[in-house]
Symmetry: C2
Subunit: 313 residues, 2 copies
């Protein structure tokens, strides 16, 4: 397959074509990804998450620039809500493009949160695979928002950075949003603002109270950064690299690979099974059950039983 | 079924037992909910979402108190991340209990974001059904975080309030997080803080630019509140009631019911189909495919094909 050869050779236009095909969920994408799959598994996949307003995008840009100075190539996947209203995300993207475009060692792609949740997570995972196979050394996966879906996307990374900033409200956002458990590194960005010390201390105290991290031998370091002028970004890269080394040495790298593969397989199975069922029973039958349940002529559990029965065979 | 009779009679302990059973996904819950289902469809389901730090919980408490003064009964479902670290959510819950407990016209339940995404959305939908059948006039569904999963939970409400607050960062959070499309009412909470006027104006401009709302005859009002002292909460309830009346008169109420039912049925089908497949092929077969894919001995698409084939029985 020509597309596969071109992606493996690092041709940007082929990669862009493959990613568009992934987003449209075409059969081409599946065939190409199957052929590319043996070439994946080399990139360091770094997830970046945190509440809005913590400065994630700027930090990701600075990390990319610093990685380039270290001679590494960088793929960036930004999982953004896409909407006619979300001028913010689009604007951020344009700034990013101006800043980083023109460097052949950087490839940027935004993923829209259209359609189903599982669909987005799967498409994101596939884009990461494409970048991995194309030979990028580091893939930064940035998620906007602090919801469960974003946590799920970040969880499939090797190294998860949770970004916090002082003064975003009454409490430390990461603790409120349940992000502490998935953090491998905690970042206090905008560290020149008042309250940065307090935020860092609160994170340390929270780590002292939590068990899970300390048990498996890696306590998430708390790193202070000022993304706007690049302060702390080199240290952050060092810490991320140290986490990668820890994963390799402790056998955790393989464990994370298995976790990601399992979550991908289950999502793909769900999607395929539902599509097959709907094909068998027909859209009209599904619609008619929706009508009956909405009108309280049937209960949803009976509807599901009936649809499963009809789709058997 | 005794449990059903007791829930319909409004017995709190029966309701609490049913909800625990929903969370454990027991067969009792399914049977009870099937029997209760014809008694649902009366409650006004109001979703409350927005970025962390906007004061959602305090606002929900004030809304509940104000609804009680209007003689209405209130169910509250708080979809919270649950973790050993998330002291914030737990603490908020305790404050809430102290504030509202002891009133038989209020029932509060927190849902943990454990397990799968679809699982949480389904469990939340079932708890809302239980509260609806138990006769609560209004059910407030509060989601922590601004992610896609939270949006999905909120989307199943009749009326969605998106909460914003001034000074939470550089931009209006709701626009950044893609929440504008799902908002039926926009709330600027903490309206006594500097920047509240700007935030309200930014929301209005954003509404002017967006199409979808204006097309179907309801432009989301922007309401200013100060949850801490109750300012604006009465107006907020009036607006929510007006939206309910609009839904009824325009036929949108039925459309939202169908949308919710469809999303529930698809999630339930996915879950049931996956469970059936895993039962057929066995956990060991799944595990062995995960190992092979993680070791790059097979690609995920081939693994899914093979598992679907094995499960065809």
């Amino acid at each position: 397959m020509e597309l596969v050869t071109q992606v493996l050779a690092g041709e940007r236009r082929a990669l862009a074509r493959l990613i568009s095909s992934i987003e449209n969920d075409g059969p081409t994408a599946r065939q190409a990804l199957a052929a590319l799959y043996p070439h994946t598994g080399r990139a360091h996949i770094v997830g970046i998450t945190g509440a809005p307003g913590t400065g994630k995008s700027t930090l990701v840009n600075e990390m990319a620039k610093a990685l380039r100075r270290r001679g590494q190539t960088v793929g960036i996947v930004a999982v953004d809500p896409s909407s006619p209203f979300s001028g913010g995300a689009l604007l951020g993207d344009r700034v990013r493009m101006r800043d980083l475009a023109g460097d052949a060692g950087i490839f940027i792609r935004s993923m829209a949160t259209r359609g189903s949740l599982g669909g987005l997570a799967l498409a994101t995972a596939d884009v990461v695979k494409a970048l991995d196979a194309a030979g990028f050394d580091v893939v930064l996966v940035e998620t906007v928002g602090v919801g469960q879906a974003e946590v799920d996307v970040a969880r499939t990374a090797h190294t998860v950075l949770v970004i916090e900033a002082p003064g975003l409200g009454d409490e430390v956002q990461a603790m409120k949003a349940g992000l502490m458990e998935i953090a491998d590194v905690l970042v206090v960005n905008k560290a020149d603002r008042p309250g940065a010390e307090n935020t860092a201390r609160a994170l340390e105290v929270s780590l002292d109270l939590g068990r899970s991290h300390n048990e498996n031998g890696w306590r998430p370091p708390v790193v202070k950064t000022i993304a706007l002028d690049g302060t702390g970004v080199e240290e952050l890269l060092d810490v991320a690299a140290a986490h990668r080394a820890y994963l390799r040495e402790s056998g955790q790298w393989a464990a994370r690979e298995r976790r990601r593969v399992q979550s991908d397989l289950l999502r793909m199975l769900e999607q395929a099974l539902l599509a097959r069922l709907i094909e068998r029973v027909g859209e009209a039958a599904l619609e008619s059950w929706v009508e009956r349940v909405a009108a309280r002529q049937a209960d949803p559990y009976a509807a599901v039983e009936a649809l499963l029965q009809e789709g058997r065979g």
